[in-house]
């Protein structure tokens, strides 16, 4: 018995298959990066979104190419979903000339402006006002694009969040605020750091709609984000969406995870968004087991190729050090 999926009209069966592969691309990318950091092959730091693939893939899936996103320090998934090039991403992590930022930015600053990704950000909450500004451009120039603004539960305690959401609300700007509530900041549990039960409850303070979404359920994510995007595109203003999710790994590179229990981790791992999406697609007859295997394998292969690309890429020339400070 095939269950018909109820989804936004832009989401075709082909798109669903692409999304399944995309989720694996995100996971394999970050698993690979994790290994490299553990072996000390990459310097600096990184923040992995393993376990949070669905909120990136599902939210961005409903966008049009002209739409924009603003990402966070945990941004590899957002970049991949906004048609990012994993070769350029991996090369950036290796600090190579062929990387997204010519080796100058690293994990926390990957951006793909041509594709509408206004960048990861090293400053928690730093991207939220930027998203509002990008939405202001859309409105003033009548460009009709919508901005998806990602940020964490921790970021929602920064003044920038409150100021920016209020501003977007009073100007009815086409921005959708997506709080990826993975239950912790670096270590601070969301339940100790706010007195509201849901981050989405904060929408009431700014007079905009707030929604709570299961951040591991692709179907629910696509439907809810699509509704908010249509609302924004129609000139009705912003929505605050909270994705309940979980990061499987430590905060950055790695950490002892003393601030949470292994039981809690296992509970969340069981909600794996990729596994659930696969089951949904199999049930709906969109995908067969064999096809699923092939897509997963292709994703793995593309990440291997990205590593080869990065390794074969040259280091930036020292002459580039003082380039690009000014336009």
């Amino acid at each position: 018995m095939v269950t018909k999926l109820s989804l936004p009209t832009s989401i075709t069966d082909e798109k669903l298959k692409d999304l399944y592969k995309e989720m694996w691309l995100i996971r394999y990318f970050d698993e690979k990066v994790d290994q490299f950091f553990a072996k000390g092959l990459i310097h600096g730091t990184t923040h992995l979104c393993v376990g949070q693939e669905a909120s990136a893939a599902g939210s961005i899936a409903v966008l049009e190419p002209k739409d924009k996103i603003v990402s966070t320090h945990r941004g590899h998934g957002h970049c991949i979903s906004k048609e990012g090039d994993v070769n350029k991403m991996m090369a950036e992590l290796f600090g190579r000339e062929t990387g997204y930022c010519k080796g100058k930015g690293g994990s926390m600053h990957i951006a793909d402006v041509e594709k509408g990704n206004l960048g990861a950000n090293g400053i928690v909450g730093g991207g939220i006002p930027l998203a509002v500004g990008a939405a202001l451009t859309s409105k003033m120039k009548k460009e009709q694009y919508v901005v998806l603004c990602f940020f964490g539960d921790g970021a929602s305690n920064e003044g920038s969040f409150h100021e920016a959401v209020n501003l977007a609300a009073i100007w009815d700007l086409p921005v959708v605020f997506i709080c990826e509530n993975n239950q912790y900041g670096m270590s601070g549990p969301v339940k100790d750091m706010t007195r509201v039960e849901h981050i989405a409850d904060r929408a009431a303070a700014y007079g905009i709609p707030g929604k709570i979404v299961d951040g591991c359920d692709m179907v629910e994510i696509m439907n809810e984000v699509d509704e908010a995007v249509q609302y924004a595109r129609a000139g009705k203003g912003p929505t605050l969406i909270e994705m309940k999710t979980y990061r499987w790994k430590g905060h950055s590179k790695s950490d002892a995870k003393k601030y949470r229990t292994r039981e809690e981790e296992n509970e969340w791992r069981a909600k794996d968004g990729i596994k659930r999406f696969k089951e949904t697609l199999l049930e709906a007859g969109v995908l067969t087991e064999d096809e699923a295997k092939v897509l997963q394998e292709q994703a793995k292969q593309e990440i291997e190729e990205a590593v080869q690309f990065a390794e074969a890429s040259p280091e930036p020339s020292i002459d580039t050090l003082e380039e690009d400070v000014y336009a």
């Binding site: 926390m108 920038s160 900041g185 670096m186 270590s187 050090l321």
Partner: protein, 329 residues
């Protein structure tokens, strides 16, 4: 005093813990300073000893936590604020610059703000443009703030004690790459006065004023140069506000040459202040060569390790600068 070798990081923790054991008004607040132990592990174990009332794990809200520290200080507490990376002072800036620094003066000498803002600064960890800056000159520009940049485990413990005892807001920079360096440090509490430079190495040919991590690079350079018969005096101001002008003036009168080296961007850096101070002083007449400043290039700190290194002065740059300065010896 009984000394033993501990790291810079341990010295910071020890200074705070000893003070907190004897002064109930001292407490620490900051992001992830509880079980996580802080981004660099400085407060590890402290919440276990002092509890969550005195080791207050805060939300990610730099404007609020810096302002709360100012307000608590104004009303009788002696807070230590740990800011996870010194770059985030941008978000705490209003509270530090428009509130903490000016309150007492604006109120006509009433009230005081005895707080310490401790924060790791500097590049060299691959954390790129938003997590690697050295913005101490900004703080030094603000009347009402004191600015400390310790370079050794011994200094950090004594200077932190002085900072905690001070009745003014003190911005206390800990260089990330120094956390793991170690030194002979007394077990007991001791205080190193703010405003007292330390001659880290005596010399006769040139005065090399260096801050924070650059002190170590200066010492390395000085050891190399000694082999070539060049005698370098390395002065660590330790605090840039107040600045021990006398120590620098005396040294320049002795050597007749001055180089200032810091990691912060050269333009607008504290090196310019020190150079001008000498140019305006009696030491000017003793100069046998132009003053030289070494500082970071005017670029955001890049991620690639080779570029990152090239953005700030390294030992060979210091050696080259000294040689140029002593040329016409």
């Amino acid at each position: 005093m009984t000394k033993r070798e501990i790291t810079y990081l341990e010295a910071v923790r020890e200074a705070m813990s000893q003070e907190m054991r004897q002064n109930e008004d001292v407490f620490i607040l900051g992001e992830d300073i509880g079980v996580y132990g802080g981004a660099f592990g400085v407060t590890r174990g402290m919440i276990e000893e002092f509890g969550p009332e005195r080791v207050r794990n805060t939300p990610i809200s730099e404007a609020a936590i810096s302002g709360a520290a100012v307000g608590a200080a104004l009303t009788g507490m002696r807070p230590i604020l740990e800011l996870q990376f010194s770059d985030f002072i941008t978000i705490a800036m209003d509270q530090m610059v428009n509130q903490a620094a000016k309150t007492r003066y604006m109120f006509g000498g009433k009230g005081k703000v005895p707080m310490v803002l401790r924060t790791p600064s500097g590049s060299g960890t691959g954390a790129a443009a938003q997590h690697s800056q050295s913005l101490e000159a900004w703080m030094a520009h603000i009347p009402g703030l004191k600015v400390v940049q310790p370079s050794t485990a011994y200094d950090v413990k004594g200077l932190l004690k002085a900072a905690m005892d001070d009745d003014n807001p003190v911005v206390f920079y800990e260089h990330k790459l120094l956390y793991k360096t170690s030194d002979q440090v007394p077990e007991e509490q001791y205080s190193i006065p703010l405003g007292k430079a330390d001659i880290k190495r005596e010399g006769t040919d040139v005065t090399l004023v260096a801050t924070a991590l650059m002190v170590h690079k200066a010492l390395e350079a000085a050891a190399e140069l000694e082999k070539e018969g060049i005698s370098v005096e390395v002065i660590d101001p330790r605090t840039i506000v107040p600045l021990d002008e006398e120590a620098i003036i005396n040294s320049v009168k002795k050597t007749g040459r001055l180089i200032v080296a810091h990691e912060a961007v050269k333009r607008g850096g504290i090196g310019g202040e020190i150079a001008s101070m000498i140019a305006e002083s009696e030491a000017f007449d003793y100069l046998d060569a132009p003053i030289k400043r070494l500082g970071g290039l005017a670029v955001p700190i890049p991620y690639n390790p080779t570029l990152e290194k090239a953005a700030t002065p390294q030992v060979p740059d210091i050696i080259a600068a000294v040689k140029e300065t002593v040329q016409n010896k």
